[in-house]
Symmetry: C2
Subunit: 572 residues, 2 copies
């Protein structure tokens, strides 16, 4: 490919509206162009990367027995009414009426389509297990598209669905896909990524993992144990909390605390530490019930976990409406409606002599004791993990990082097959719902996340496996006849040797050409100029390391092929 | 791939609602499954064919310098307001409001997106020409989806857009793409296809061609000259009409014709031939104007041509509303509103002594003469070509056939670049709109049209180049130990040799297995059984011809590879 004919331009300035480094470089290097909020055209270089990532995914999905299919983007409402998702998914799903006024939608995932395909097609256990996958454009009407392809509204996704006769078979296959995902992300070039235990969100089911590109630019907070490798999304992370002191001091005493309402204010007023307090955090459920969560004062609520206990989304509440005294709510003598959810965090287990609200304006209680006053309470895990807490697996200190979700896998169980009536005949003649797993990878997100991991202050850096071209051929002084003739000859030779080469055939200054090559991020740059020709050599620069080599023209092609082969092998 | 694990089933019965042979076989052989009217899931075998067709297209598009991109499926209204197509395209385009109540649409083609990409990116003539293409899922809300993938609402399409500094450059490049299309359809395996001059429809512009798979199942009527190769869509076809007799007989005479209103009735009443009459056919334009078309009585109106003259869609009209006398309209003393369109077909040129309506109830005129009574009239081409008329190029007889449109190419000119303000600086410093071409191929239509060409009464027949698998391996009596062991061994060997093989590993009767293999249409079937093993041979059957070969096991792999190579080469 000649750069003079490549569609797209390299920009010097940071485009307005872009803040994420990867997004900025994709725009500046001519890889993407925004059409609308969260909607992009992939220009030729990005589409080349896109196709290479797709092929890696395809190979690994095929290697675990995946059968590629193509489900429809547009589906009829009826199919999604069966699963209940037509109504449970809100504004992020696009709905429209077709010309016959029939309700249609744009599929965000394809569990329903997969079950539809299997319905009446797969009838017996001996047709199981199988896995189908597709690579397809999807549209989700994100409320806040951001970061280019990281959180786009339209994106390329690989989604896969497996069907099994038993949960055991699903669990075994799930592990195979887990391993395939590890290979996929390694082959794409990720060095910093983790698989974390995930929250299932709208998918239902139980076991799940999220594959996270680890980067400060990530939206997700991750909890990681560097010692044993435990890693988890903050929403479901667990930890060993500090143990509480175990001595009961004395009688519960009411103390005046006046305007001190927050934990900090109360601690300051009573000259104590938040570790010696129990705070209340209140919410309202979708159906208007009160939720009161008690935690040790130095902990914060993990809303994802609390939502599961309350079986509802949670929203802010005005506690006065429920007759409670804001700022003075406590776990002794709490008077709430019978349908309220009251949850006690494990951080309160064994806590003695602590302070809590008196459920009475301007007063708190002292010397409350978990063992004595909360006897019979079932403590649950509703607090966020704190950095420095201990790993439940190995006891080492946990640390925090951030990540971008680039893939996820779920053990769905029978949620969809039950709702859609997809049964198979078992060996004993009974009919049983098939057990499903589902497996997603964001292709565009992977493309952009690898930039977050690898780019430097000069521009993009592509791993060889997904680079739009392998070699950026950059002759300087093309007006010089020697350079011009040799450049064309080398370009032809590289193409003939099967090297994917971008030839900067523009007669521009060295400054512009080198800056462009760094911005575009192709792994190997080959430079020739009147000077290098005198020495009979090309200057070869590795984009990632900056390492420079001088290679004799006679050896250039074979050396390049060897470098490319080596890079690809390392990633494989 | 083992057939026992292939998702999909083979059906004996013709599925309800399917009438087209290709559609029936795709359903019966487990290639597609309908999700909604005109919306299908491509099961694994169809997706394999789909990907192979895509790769052929990709290679040929790259060979003419195409750069692959990916435009968005969902676009904002503003972009399509610029071209005027947001309002000009009617119900077939899906529109919806996003969560911010912004008008969005699903792109049916991507001229607007291509110009958007080029806007501010391509600034100078020396960045031209270039061509970008994409392979993408599209949705058109067809009023009457039919024939499976032939007229689906959701389908895979390759669309391409080229940009040029001059019309001459476009014309030269257009020819290159034309040639690439001929190669693509040949490589896909079409033997019966033609490129016909097309009607431009909603695309605007002038020169265009449609690539038609020739088949009786086609929706389009084609006019073909077997002598010089002239071929055209009926809508724009031209021909040499029979010449008219040139002697003026006498005075115009009013004759009573009573209830004889149609041409047939009038001819019977006056004992003459339709060739000696001029009939009137009337329509109404979108803005309510009257259109009267006069043709020789034995010709029919070509509505596509008449629409261009009337610059409007045409709908039926009640002529009495315009004061005309239905059944007696004629070209002499016609009294119509001033804004009416009155057109005279070339078939009336030189026609003498003819009969036409008297514009008076129950009467016609005799002895009307074109040379005398229609002097000054400009005759235009508004009649359909009739079979047997002469080719305008070589004078040979024209014949009719039918076709399915599998591709089309258009010289768009500056329609879109003008409306969207996409200019480039020319060598002389002036700014000029870029000149565009656009080029489409229906991937799903191609997949199904090739079935129409090749299938027989037993099932599908795939060309080697796009076959889901190259070899259908069909061992009989798998319960026989010799067969079982050898089958597994041969399967492994074929896979190892890079042969794409579908292994029917089911222990079913020969009848079922052979019927399934014929239905599925894989080009080469390899059969082993206790009987062939005794002879040390496999029975190899060519699906298309039914030809049978017996090949020694020792030579089987190399012979199969040779057969596959030969087939692929023939198509290349």
């Amino acid at each position: 490919m000649k750069l003079s004919k490549l569609v797209g331009e390299r920009l010097k300035d940071v485009p307005s509206g872009a803040t994420l480094r990867s997004h900025i470089y994709l725009l500046r290097a001519g890889y993407i162009k925004q059409v609308s909020a969260g909607i992009f055209t992939l220009m030729p270089p990005a589409q080349r990367v896109n196709l290479k990532i797709q092929n890696i995914i395809r190979e690994e999905m095929n290697a675990v027995g995946g059968q590629e299919v193509l489900f429809p983007v547009v589906m009829p409402r009826e199919l999604w009414d069966l699963s209940g998702r037509y109504s449970s998914i809100k504004d992020e799903m696009v709905r429209f009426k077709d010309r016959t006024q029939h309700d249609m939608l744009l599929g965000m995932t394809h569990e329903e389509a997969a079950v539809h395909m299997a319905l009446n097609t797969i009838k017996s256990y001996d047709q199981l297990p199988f896995m189908v996958y597709q690579i397809q454009t999807k549209f989700r009407d994100e409320a806040r598209p951001r970061g280019g392809l990281i959180r786009a509204r339209e994106f390329t996704m690989k989604d896969a669905y497996s069907f099994h006769a038993t949960q055991e078979d699903l669990a075994a296959y799930y592990q195979k896909v887990f391993d395939a995902y590890m290979r996929i992300f390694k082959r794409i070039g990720f060095k910093k990524f983790v698989a974390v235990e995930g929250d299932n969100g709208m998918m239902g089911g139980k076991v799940s993992h999220e594959f996270m590109a680890v980067t400060d630019a990530g939206e997700d907070k991750l909890v990681i144990c560097k010692s044993c490798g435990y890693s988890s999304n903050m929403e479901v992370a667990v930890s060993v909390k500090d143990e509480n002191d175990g001595t009961v001091l004395g009688e519960i005493t009411e103390v005046f605390t006046g305007n001190a309402h927050t934990i900090d204010e109360v601690c300051a007023f009573l000259e104590t530490d938040a570790k010696h307090t129990a705070k209340a955090v209140c919410y309202k459920t979708d159906d208007g019930r009160l939720v009161v969560a008690f935690l040790r004062g130095d902990h914060d609520v993990n809303e994802a976990k609390l939502q599961k206990i309350a079986r509802s989304e949670l929203s802010p509440v005005d506690v006065e409406e429920f007759g409670l005294c804001a700022g003075n709510i406590g776990c002794i003598n709490l008077n709430v409606p019978g349908d309220s959810v009251v949850a006690f965090d494990k951080s309160l287990q064994g806590l003695e002599n602590f302070i809590t609200g008196a459920n009475k304006k301007d007063f708190h209680l002292k010397n409350v004791s978990a063992s004595r006053d909360l006897a019979g309470v079932e403590f649950v895990d509703i607090a966020l993990v704190k950095e420095g807490e201990k790993c439940v697996h190995c006891g080492a200190e946990l640390s925090f990082t951030r990540g971008i979700e680039i893939g996820n896998i779920f053990q769905l169980g029978t949620r969809y097959t039950k709702q859609m009536g997809m049964k198979v005949t078992m060996p004993d003649g009974t009919a049983k719902e098939a057990v499903m797993g589902c497996y997603g990878i964001g292709v565009g997100r992977s493309l952009e996340s690898i930039i977050e991991e690898k780019a430097d202050d000069k521009g993009l850096i592509w791993p060889m496996s997904i680079a739009p071209w392998q070699v950026h051929f950059c002759p300087l002084r093309l007006d010089d006849e020697n350079v011009g003739v040799l450049a064309e000859e080398l370009y032809r030779e590289m193409e003939k040797a099967g090297i994917e080469v971008l030839f900067d055939d523009r007669n521009l200054s060295a400054g512009i050409k080198l800056t462009d090559s760094e911005l575009m991020g192709i792994p190997i740059r080959v430079l020739i100029s009147p000077k290098t020709i005198v020495n009979g050599q090309a200057e070869v620069t590795i984009r990632e390391t900056g390492e420079k080599l001088f290679i004799n023209f006679a050896d250039l092609i074979s050396e390049l092929k060897e470098m490319i082969r080596g890079d690809l092998e390392e990633l494989n």
